[in-house]
Symmetry: C2
Amino acid sequence: MKNFNIAAGVSPMTHVIKQAGKIALLASMTCAISLPVMAAQHPNLVINQQDVTAMKQAITQPGSFQNAFNTTQSNVDKGLAQPIEVPVPKDAGGGYTHEKHKSNYQQMYDTGIIYQLTGDKKYAEYVKDMLLQYATLYPTLPLHPMRKSNNEGKLFWQGLNEAVWLVHTIQAYDFIYDALTPAERNTIETGAIIPAALFLSEQSPHTFNKVHNHGTWATAAVGMSGYVLDKPLWVERALYDLNLAKKGGFMRQLDELFSPDGYYNEGPYYQRYALMPFVTFAKAIEQNEPQRKIFQYREGILLKAITSTVELSYNKLFFPLNDAIKSKGIDTIELVNGVAIAYGLNGDPRLLDIAQQQHNILLTGDGLKVAQGLDNKLQQPFPFVSTLFRDGQQGDDGALVVMRQGKATDQAIVFKATAQGLGHGHFDKLTWQFYDAGNEIVSDYGAARFLNVEAKFGGRYLPENESWAKQTIAHNTLIVDEKSHFNGKLKAANKNNPTLHFYSAKQDLTIASASIDTAYDDVAFKRTLALVNIKQRDAVIGIDIMRVTANKPHQYDLPVHYQGQLIDTNFDRQASLTQLSALGTENGYQHLWLLATANLAKDKAANKLAKVTWLNDNGHFYTHSTLVNTNFNNATNEQMLFTQLGANDPDMNLRQQQSFIHRVNATNHTYVSVMEPHGEYNPSKEYTLEATSNIAGLIHHQQAELEAVQIRFTDGQQYLLAINHADNAVTQETQSVISVNGVQYPFSGRAELLDIKEFK
Amino acid sequence: MKNFNIAAGVSPMTHVIKQAGKIALLASMTCAISLPVMAAQHPNLVINQQDVTAMKQAITQPGSFQNAFNTTQSNVDKGLAQPIEVPVPKDAGGGYTHEKHKSNYQQMYDTGIIYQLTGDKKYAEYVKDMLLQYATLYPTLPLHPMRKSNNEGKLFWQGLNEAVWLVHTIQAYDFIYDALTPAERNTIETGAIIPAALFLSEQSPHTFNKVHNHGTWATAAVGMSGYVLDKPLWVERALYDLNLAKKGGFMRQLDELFSPDGYYNEGPYYQRYALMPFVTFAKAIEQNEPQRKIFQYREGILLKAITSTVELSYNKLFFPLNDAIKSKGIDTIELVNGVAIAYGLNGDPRLLDIAQQQHNILLTGDGLKVAQGLDNKLQQPFPFVSTLFRDGQQGDDGALVVMRQGKATDQAIVFKATAQGLGHGHFDKLTWQFYDAGNEIVSDYGAARFLNVEAKFGGRYLPENESWAKQTIAHNTLIVDEKSHFNGKLKAANKNNPTLHFYSAKQDLTIASASIDTAYDDVAFKRTLALVNIKQRDAVIGIDIMRVTANKPHQYDLPVHYQGQLIDTNFDRQASLTQLSALGTENGYQHLWLLATANLAKDKAANKLAKVTWLNDNGHFYTHSTLVNTNFNNATNEQMLFTQLGANDPDMNLRQQQSFIHRVNATNHTYVSVMEPHGEYNPSKEYTLEATSNIAGLIHHQQAELEAVQIRFTDGQQYLLAINHADNAVTQETQSVISVNGVQYPFSGRAELLDIKEFK
């Protein structure tokens, strides 16, 4: 049975596995039960012997794989020249012993793979020596002095780091296994690996069984150790929880942590992080037990999770949803691993497009395939197309809608109608972002954090992450009476999701609509967003309808956090010239300086369209045009407030972001806006094109379930975005007719953009 | 004599030229005198027949020249499909007729060169038809209805544009000359070219004779027309002014507009602009009359002007001195022409490094040489080394000192001790900038202008250019009593320059010192700046000593306009949390919001070193450490003010730049500071290195002409920057001895960095 990993088809394993629960208790006491099918050659986790053979051949040929090998070997050689140090654990994250143990596992991993590729014993010796030191140290360790109560470690302050250590260390051990004597193996296994694996499993049942990414790291570490040490029970436990009860474990994590569309409910920033143990362990399962068809599980959820992480990026950076540090993107090591493994499985040449931008060739079998694909120029453009990512285990906890035009830097709208996303979630129901020409245009603040910068609150999430970044006003969505959604209470937020009413994507028109009536006591709001490519005009615009209904009057604020320099507005602003005041006192408002105010109702010249134009660093102009439903009898009921972030920020922790806030006092109100990229500012070549907006007028029409936005351009061209909001199924064939100014306009499907002149 | 341009050596021309003055008056009346030596083949301006032969060959071969040809031909073909339009002039800059006449001359030029390269008559026809329309229109034109009084045009509102039109048009005419009948030539010359040339010369004597870049464009246009129309007198006038009196003209411009080091006194932004007519006309002179040795004139001043423009850039962008729009850089068309012509002359492979970054191959003989050089990978790195650029015609009006480390993105200091730079100059005597890792770290605001953006003050310089950008507080230099240098009066500023005391550049240490005592009535200040590479520490730091002396007490402000996010200070700041006020009421202070104040005298924990650390977008940390010469009896005499730009800015015209201002109330004061790049913030790879400064202490020593800054690092290492300020000549061999704490430290030359421990 030694070689079952390369035998296809059903094996007797399936029967054995079903029986495994019965022996669990015994196994946990002896740690010595070996199911005969589990024995494996070494290495056989992420990398197997065939991989090694192919890689050894590849490093003799010029190419990107050889380059990657040379770089790693050179780094490893530098490490070999340094004395090995395995210090007694003392420091928390960022401290010396913490960083040393982190670099140690990386070094063991890298040195181990170089041993496999060169066969030079000195590399195996080095790894062995370090492992022996761990084998001496580990049994002496109490819980870490700086431990965190909910997830304790021994080598590290957190069990999470301990699991990451073992995921790397077991692979390093697997690489040098054949170079060790049985006595050395015994010393290392009994001194370091077995105690670490038991600590992470039996001795940390809460984390091990938890359906959470900490649980994924722990089960990956223990399961992979099970393969190497020939302890199939460890693998079973990793897959099905400590008691094999399937209440936790890797399979349960695969069931629950991703939506059916591969969306991770904390958002792409944490999805990227969570991906690593998933794909690593899954690859090890695939190598050892291909009959489990792990990559086909749940309709290929792992591949979906990898590709959706790529899809949740714009111009290489992840959409900064929830607590997200904005500089993270597709070149992170987690996604380098994910893309390589996915490419190894499906050979999709579009993944090579991403791999090429990652500039990081892994020394694995899959890394070799990627390198060869790139060397042979097999890559094809990765399609960045409109996609619906349903949220929740069953896909019914709202959704993230990404509207785009095909390329990574084309116009894109991100419409966030997802569930809260737990503790890292923001109170930002139905917020949106707009991207164009490589940059954020209407943006999300992301997280307030300087990762690992000690002077900035120890590198942790800053206090301003709570007081600003999570608050509703920090996002581009509705704030009622200056209070955040769910009054900023996480428990209520976790319980209530928006409802996605429809999503429709066809050539040149993507549209979605969602609503929520639980974010505020008596206020419901429904947002419909569309990304429209008007080919005749060579224009791609965003259309935004935010309909708010309530039982009594409220103050409604709808901010646009814009990126760029304000160029112009078509209404007068009263700027604060010599004094600034904070806009409010709580819920994030205390962080905004009020720069200027405009009374939209008063300014009749605005002609019912309030326009704000700014210039982004990408050299393009952007105009946000919004309908002013002015009640001229009440001159103060509609304002535009211009703000800048930075008030109540004694440590200067916040970035200087600017926004304008459309404030309306009303019971019911519908905001109707168009986001329009236009023109170009090129001071280098000394030309400026189309610095002013081309939108001349907007009219909003509502007829029961049918809705339309009529858009008139400055040159007289007119279009009608007609929408069918019916709750029942609407297909592309469904025909509707909306009447505008006495003219009947038929349209099909959920929505259509009509050239009104065609009807004349 | 037809081919004298390829004959080497002395020709009889030199004699004829010397006689030319005698016939000037007659010539100006008849415009018909033709000296026999001036006849030439066509084309023979920037491009000659040999160039055409070589280019025709090159476009048959794959390569970057062929690519450039294909691109231009494709654009030209699009133009040919459009009707020709030569409208009656009506609009000012940016308006329709203005832009049309601009695109017409560019199109004639491009179409003409494509005719030369293809021989296809349709291209010549198109240029001819457009020229004939100009020949019909031009004689009917009065002065332009929107003309500017000091520099009138006919086709354009400014004579400057008219000259640029003729520089292009005469080249286009030269390209199709041989395809025209004598009658057609006569029509075009008498209708368009002769009247335009006479308008720019005889009829605009003030501009034509002016030693100014407007004069350069006019003389280039007329001189080049002289070569094509075989009117040597026009050439003489272009070179030596209308009366051949040498009071104006191109040669005089070459004498006066550049310093002996090739520095243009308005700064690199305008130097780049001025370069175009200089190099274009010079190239035409070289082709037609090589015996003039125009490129050798004044020790090769034209080549110096080209290379110095390149040298006055950082990471591809020009240093933003005086009125400068920051996005201009080495890829501007003016420098593409300059670099190509320079490479054509000297074949310096280091120029190809710049050409490669310009991504713009010209369809000229020199453009072909560049293309071939790049295709053959001949480029060598352009050396960005420390350089002294003396200012003024004789090089004695102060200087710009650029300190750098060899590469375009290495650390650099720009020390501006130049003359004012006329109307575009800023009141910024002895200001400095610091650059590192590709970015501005301590920066200059540049100009307040959105070029050609109508909504921003018609695209002209904004009012804030006067009220902020030109004021002293907008720069990193001393402001006394909140008043700008010379009280912001241009006339006084133009008359008074700083004095450069010394400049010394050696391996790992560049240092310069300059002073000025005319910027304020009774206050003199002297600044000494050094860029030091401490190889043992792998650290490059800037050292800044600003010594201020006066007759009575004043308020001294020394700002640092920093680029990045504030990370930390080693002193307490009192931030304004809910209200902000403008820092002052005039001289630029009215534009600053006061964010926070720190009383440096009060905070004894500062230990006499005030440190401010920020994080730049380039991912590196920067700490500015400055000595606090605290008088503890007077707790308010030394403060640090933290400001942000944006007050009194009703149109939101200013960028949100931040600064800290070291304010001292004293009669005499010496600011001693160190600028230190350190560490790295890499949230993508999740590591942060050396986020805190390594400077532990500074001590300033002054002993008559000798001065020293003692620098102690946190690990105990100590260095002494010893400086000899003697007025007399100091060479590298000059020996000095400075005594510190009773120890004698000998050093040689102007300055030396001593490892103090070596002396123990």
